[in-house]
Amino acid sequence: MRKLNTLNLVVASVTAAALMTFAPIPGAGQDKQKGGRGGGKGKGGPPGAEQYGPYYAAPAKAGEPVGRTPDGQPDMQGFWTPRFNQAIFEVQNHPTAQPGIGPGKGAIVDPADGRIPYKPEAAAKAKEMLAKQIYLEPEAHCYVSGVPHAAYQQFGYQIVQPAGYVLFLTEYAHTYRAIPTDGRPHISPNIKLFRGDSVGKWEGGTLVIDTTNQNGKTWFDMAGNFTTPAIHVVERITPVDTNNINYEAVVDDSTIYTQPWKIAGQLGRHPDQNMELMEFACVEGNQDLVHYTEGVGGKAKEKGALRQ
């Protein structure tokens, strides 16, 4: 419990360093300072908050029919709160507490047990990372999230749809995904990127995003569930009405999984559509690695993971 509390502070301090805590933040709710990125249950939210951990947002009410942008895309523009249970801590079901992570539900709907279908050696690697190498967690180093992690990113995001593109602007780390929908091919497989290479197309009312070229340096969560450069992700994003979007993603990587697996979640429209994403200056105020070292017994300093 002591460890958990320390980790809670970790992220609150990163956020505070980024001058963000007093600003309105999509999806974070009022309990953000208490919970932070590594927070526990969503105490302090309205009834039912605990279902979503600290990233509480009431299930959005049914809205109006989905409109169209000037170039004919289904219009998803605005601020959205991801609801993926506690996937942000661990993407798979995690019924028992781990260092820094309380028990909770993930977002995996296939296989039915909600667990990543690792090959044995990959399962062992993930377990080892969680137990002994938590200081390697990519976000503690302010690396941008990969795909699909970016879709259930903390603090929510804004969708903007200029002609020919869909952009996801995330408050966390103040980054973007710019997805062309003009039918272009992927870039060469020789280039690997943290964010990978995403190309999109509309299939009726569903935006289908195909992502390859990831560099294998990102995790799905804070729990050691790692990726490799062989990962291939197909996201299907379907606006249901003006307040609700269904999201699912199939993840395939035959080098570490026995079968493809699927996550699913919802995006709820944030009630305040006049909000503005604030700057989250991650690199500039990062204390995560220090806290990992002191808080959960990591050996970051010896491993050279710490600057200075």
Binding site: Q161, P162, I187, R307
Partner: protein, 249 residues
């Protein structure tokens, strides 16, 4: 703290653009269409002023169009500080430790910038560290809550020109690799005009009474990337810095 707006306007008027004959195509809501992926072809990122080459960095002419001598009008104390910055630049340049570059520096780094427009926003996304500039076009004022590495940008259209007022700038950013700097009193007015189909003329007037004796103006061109399927890749500066530090151990 700030110069009267009238003074700033008169200074801008004193350095007019070449007669604007080209009229940009319009977006769906009738605004000039500046969308695309753009990049400078100059050495402003090395030094805004005239500079000779040094190892690995080409020479370049000043992008400062006002004052006419092409030099930043520092106060004497600030000129001294700039000299120290230059001497210590390897360690002191915030970009060398991967901090957010700030405005206007992000606009002339050797990295492409994608501009997109919607009725409410103009977005400028740099390939450098996924740096994002959101320009609010809805008539709102700068917030009074905080200073930002990338500042706070509020814009409006004046005919063919996107005019962006940038305030709330943190004092920790530099203008270039040569230690040219500012304080938290920095106020910028940018004027961005599509002067040819594939050229944006970028102009910025910078005022900061704590550091400069008068406002001054830079002007440069951004060129459209026309390679087929060109897109932003990524430059995750802090990740590469960690790698380099490990290699050097």
């Amino acid at each position: 703290m700030r110069y009267p707006t009238a003074l700033l306007v008169s200074l801008i008027a004193a350095v007019p653009l070449a007669a604007q004959s080209y009229k940009a195509p319009r977006t769906a809501d009738g605004k000039p269409d500046l969308q695309g992926i753009w990049q400078v072809m100059n050495t402003a990122a090395v030094n805004l002023e005239d500079h000779i080459a040094v190892l690995g960095m080409p020479a370049g002419r000043s992008v400062i169009v006002d004052p006419p001598d092409g030099k930043i009008p520092y106060t004497p104390a600030a000129a001294q500080k700039q000299k120290e910055n230059f001497k210590n630049r390897a360690k002191a340049d915030p970009l060398n430790i991967c901090y957010i570059p700030g405005v206007p520096r992000v606009m002339y780094l050797p990295f492409p910038i994608q501009i997109v427009e919607t009725p409410k926003y103009v977005l400028m996304a740099s390939e450098f560290a996924h740096t994002l500039r959101m320009v609010y076009m809805n008539g709102t004022k700068h917030p009074d809550v905080a200073l930002f590495w990338i500042g706070d940008s509020r814009g409006h259209w004046e005919g063919e020109t996107l005019v962006v007022d940038v305030a709330n700038n943190l004092p920790d950013t530099w203008f270039d690799r040569s230690g040219n700097f500012h304080s938290d009193a920095l106020h910028i007015v940018e004027r961005i005009t599509r002067t040819e189909p594939d050229i944006l003329t970028y102009e910025a007037t910078l005022e900061d009474p704590q550091v400069f004796t008068r406002p001054w103006t830079i002007r440069m061109l951004l060129y459209r990337h026309k390679e087929p399927n060109f897109k932003l890749l990524e430059y995750e500066c802090n990740a590469y810095l960690e790698d380099a530090e490990k290699e050097n151990k």
